[in-house]
C-alpha cells in the first residue's frame, strides 16, 4: 500500500513538473476550461436558485386563484361569485382581487398594478416596487402620475416602497386602493379581476378545485403548484436558451480539448517513448496522464464553480441578467439565497470533468502501447 501511494506521489510530482514545463499551454487550457465551467455553473446555479427563491416566495400565496373565462379568455368575475361559492367545505378564506398591467411610456416598461387589499388605503396613495422607483427615480413622498383608460390623469403620492427582499416578484409592482384601481382602469363596482381562495387542508386543494369547476363551470381554478410549475418551465426555458447560446463556446472547447488530447505532439510522443524505455509501464504512463487530466479538470472545475458561485450569489449574475432574469423591462436587483443542489453539482462534474479525462486518456493509451524502440532512433 505504501509502495502504491509513494508511486502515485512520484507520478503526481512528475505530472506537476510536466505541466509547469508547458506553462503557457497548461494555463491557456486551464483558463478556457474554467471559463466554460464558470458559464455552465452560473446558468445552472442561477436558474436553480431562482426557482428555489420563487418557490419560497409563493409559499405565502393563496392555494387557488379562480378566474372567469369568456370565449377562452380571462374575463372579469362578478362579486356574486363569492356568494355562490358560499360555504364550500374546506375553503378557509375567499376574496376578490383587482390587478392589471399599466404601460408607462416614460420608461417604456409595464407595471403590474394590484390592490393592496385594504379598502381604507387613501385614494391618492400608492406603494411601489423598487424596480419602478429605480426606473423613475422616485422615493417615498414623491408623486407619480398615471393616465386612466379614458385619458384622465391621476396623481398619486408614494407612501412606501415594497421590501427589496421580495424584489424578485415585486420589482415592477404598484399597490393602490381598490377605489383608485377602479378609477384608473374604469372598472365598475361588482367586478373583480379574479378570486383567491385559501384551503384549510393542502391535500384537499384538488378536490376543492374540482368542486369549484362543477359549481362555476365558466371559471378556471389555478393552483399554486401550477404557478410554481410555470415559473419552473419559464426558468428552464431561459436556461435552455442560454445553453443553446453557450453551445458554440462549449463545442469550441471540446474541439480544443480533443485536439490537445488526441494530437500528441512529437515531443510528447518522444517523452512517452523515453519513459517506457527507462522502465515505465503503459499503466504508469496512463496513470501519469490520468493525474494530469485530473489536476487540470479538477482545478478548472473548482475555479469555474467558485467563480460562478460568487457571480450568482454575490454579483447577482450580472453577466446573464438580460437572459435569465425578469419577465419585464424592469430587471429586479436582488441577492439570491445561496443554494447548491448536490445532484446538479454531480451532473456538472460528470459532464465537464469526466469527458476531458477520457479524451486525454484514450490517445495516450494508443501511443503508450506502442513499442518504445522508436526512441532509440
Amino acid at each position: 500500500m505504501l509502495y502504491f501511494l509513494r508511486k502515485q506521489k512520484y507520478l503526481i510530482d512528475y505530472t506537476l513538473s510536466s505541466l509547469l514545463r508547458r506553462k503557457a499551454k497548461s494555463l491557456g487550457l486551464l483558463a478556457v476550461y474554467s471559463m466554460i465551467v464558470f458559464m455552465l455553473a452560473s446558468v445552472t446555479l442561477f436558474s436553480h436558485a431562482l426557482r428555489n427563491e420563487a418557490g419560497l416566495m409563493l409559499q405565502a400565496s393563496p392555494e387557488i386563484i379562480l378566474q372567469r373565462m369568456e370565449a377562452g379568455r380571462h374575463a372579469m368575475i362578478p362579486t356574486d361569485y363569492l356568494q355562490r361559492i358560499g360555504q364550500l367545505r374546506g375553503v378557509k378564506q375567499k376574496e376578490g382581487r383587482l390587478w392589471g398591467y399599466y404601460y408607462d411610456p416614460a420608461v417604456k416598461a409595464n407595471y403590474t398594478i394590484m390592490t393592496g387589499g385594504q379598502s381604507e388605503t387613501p385614494l391618492t396613495s400608492i406603494i411601489i416596487g423598487t424596480g419602478i422607483a429605480r426606473a423613475r427615480g422616485l422615493d417615498v413622498g414623491d408623486y407619480l402620475t398615471l393616465r386612466s383608460q379614458n385619458g384622465e390623469a391621476f396623481s398619486f403620492q408614494i407612501s412606501a416602497l415594497l421590501d427589496d427582499k421580495s424584489e424578485l416578484v415585486s420589482a415592477d409592482l404598484l399597490l393602490m386602493s381598490p377605489k383608485a384601481f377602479r378609477r384608473v382602469f374604469n372598472i365598475p363596482e361588482g367586478l373583480y379581476t379574479d378570486l383567491v381562495l385559501s384551503v384549510r387542508n393542502p391535500r384537499e386543494v384538488i378536490t376543492v378545485a374540482e368542486k369549484l369547476t362543477q359549481l362555476l363551470p365558466d371559471t378556471r381554478p389555478i393552483l399554486r403548484d401550477e404557478v410554481l410549475r410555470t415559473y419552473d418551465s419559464v426558468f428552464s426555458w431561459r436556461q435552455g436558451i442560454l445553453f443553446v447560446l453557450l453551445t458554440g463556446s462549449i463545442l469550441a472547447f471540446v474541439i480544443f480539448a480533443w485536439d490537445k488530447a488526441s494530437g500528441l505532439s512529437a515531443e510528447e510522443r518522444r517523452e512517452i517513448g523515453i519513459l517506457k524505455a527507462v522502465g515505465w509501464e503503459t499503466a504508469d504512463v496512463m496513470r501519469m496522464k490520468f493525474w494530469e487530466g485530473m489536476i487540470i479538470s479538477l482545478t478548472a472545475f473548482l475555479i469555474g464553480y467558485l467563480a460562478a458561485y460568487a457571480h450568482v450569489f454575490f454579483a447577482s449574475a450580472s453577466l446573464f441578467e438580460p437572459v435569465l432574469k425578469g419577465w419585464a423591462v424592469l430587471y429586479p436587483q436582488f441577492r439570491l439565497t445561496p443554494f447548491v443542489d448536490g445532484l446538479q453539482l454531480a451532473t456538472l462534474f460528470f459532464f465537464s470533468v469526466l469527458p476531458y479525462i477520457v479524451a486525454t486518456i484514450i490517445p495516450i493509451w494508443r501511443t503508450s502501447i506502442a513499442d518504445p524502440d522508436a526512441v532509440m532512433r
Binding site: 524505455a277 522502465g279 513499442d371 526512441v375
Partner: protein, 227 residues
C-alpha cells in the same frame, strides 16, 4: 547473466508494400561481465538488435534467452519488468527530458518502483558524486554540455542498478576527448560487474582496449565476430 539469441529476425511494416527486414536471422550469445560492441554502417541492424535484447521491441521470429528465461515472447507487462530491473539504457541523443533538473532526470526510471524518497534521492546523489555532477544536480538538463549530458544519461541508466548496460552510438555526439573519457567510464562499469553492450561505428569505441568483443553487422546479418 548470459544473453542467447537464436535465429532472430525482425521485420518492420510486415505485410505492407514497404515491408523491411532489419534483422535476417541472427544467432549469437553475449557472455556476462564483458564489453561487447556491435559495429556496422547505418542501417546494418545493430540498433534493432539492441532494441530486441533490451526488450524495447519484440523479434518477428526467433528466440531470446536472458539467463534461463525466454524473453522474446513475454507480454508487454513482463517485458517492462525485465527492462526495468535488468537493463540500463544510454541513448545516442541522450534522451534526457528537457525542463526537468539533472536530479529529476536521473530518478525517472526509479519512480515506478515506489522506493522511499530518501532512499531514491540518496542513490541519485551518490551517482552524481561518482560522475562529478553534484554541482549540477538542480540545473535543468538544457544547461549541460554534451559530455555532462551523457554522464547524466549514464547515471539515469544506473539508478536501478541494472546488470546489463546498453549504449547505442554513445559517442556519436561527443568529441574525441569526451569519447575517450566515456570509454574510461565503460571500463569502470565493467569493473563493477556490469555487462556492457554497445553499438558504434566510431573507431574510438570499437578499437578501444576496453572492448572485449566486436561483432560486425551488415544488412541485418552478422558479418564477423571477433573477441
Amino acid at each position: 547473466m548470459t544473453i542467447q539469441l537464436t535465429n532472430i529476425k525482425k521485420a518492420y511494416n510486415q505485410g505492407k508494400p514497404n515491408e523491411f527486414w532489419a534483422i535476417q536471422g541472427v544467432s549469437i550469445d553475449f557472455e556476462p561481465n564483458r564489453v561487447s560492441c556491435l559495429k556496422g554502417a547505418s542501417g546494418s541492424g545493430k540498433t534493432t538488435l539492441l532494441s530486441m535484447i533490451g526488450c524495447l521491441t519484440r523479434p518477428t521470429s526467433g528466440r531470446i534467452l536472458l539467463g534461463d528465461r525466454v524473453i522474446s515472447s513475454l507480454p508487454e507487462r513482463f517485458l517492462t519488468e525485465v527492462r526495468r530491473h535488468t537493463f540500463g539504457f544510454i541513448f545516442q541523443r541522450f534522451n534526457l527530458i528537457p525542463g526537468l533538473s539533472v536530479l529529476e532526470n536521473i530518478m525517472l526510471p526509479a519512480y515506478p518502483l515506489g522506493l522511499p524518497y530518501t532512499e531514491l534521492i540518496a542513490s541519485a546523489k551518490r551517482l552524481l558524486k561518482d560522475f562529478n555532477l553534484s554541482a549540477k544536480a538542480d540545473n535543468p538538463v538544457e544547461w549541460l554540455s554534451g559530455g555532462e549530458a551523457q554522464r547524466v544519461a549514464i547515471c539515469r541508466a544506473l539508478i536501478n542498478d541494472p546488470q546489463i548496460v546498453i549504449a547505442d552510438e554513445p559517442t556519436a555526439n561527443l568529441d574525441s576527448k569526451l569519447s575517450y573519457e566515456f570509454m574510461g567510464l565503460i571500463d569502470e562499469l565493467q569493473q563493477s560487474g556490469k555487462t556492457i553492450l554497445l553499438t558504434s561505428h566510431d573507431s574510438v569505441v570499437y578499437d578501444s582496449a576496453v572492448v572485449d568483443r566486436v561483432v560486425e553487422m551488415r544488412d541485418g546479418i552478422v558479418l564477423t565476430d571477433a573477441g
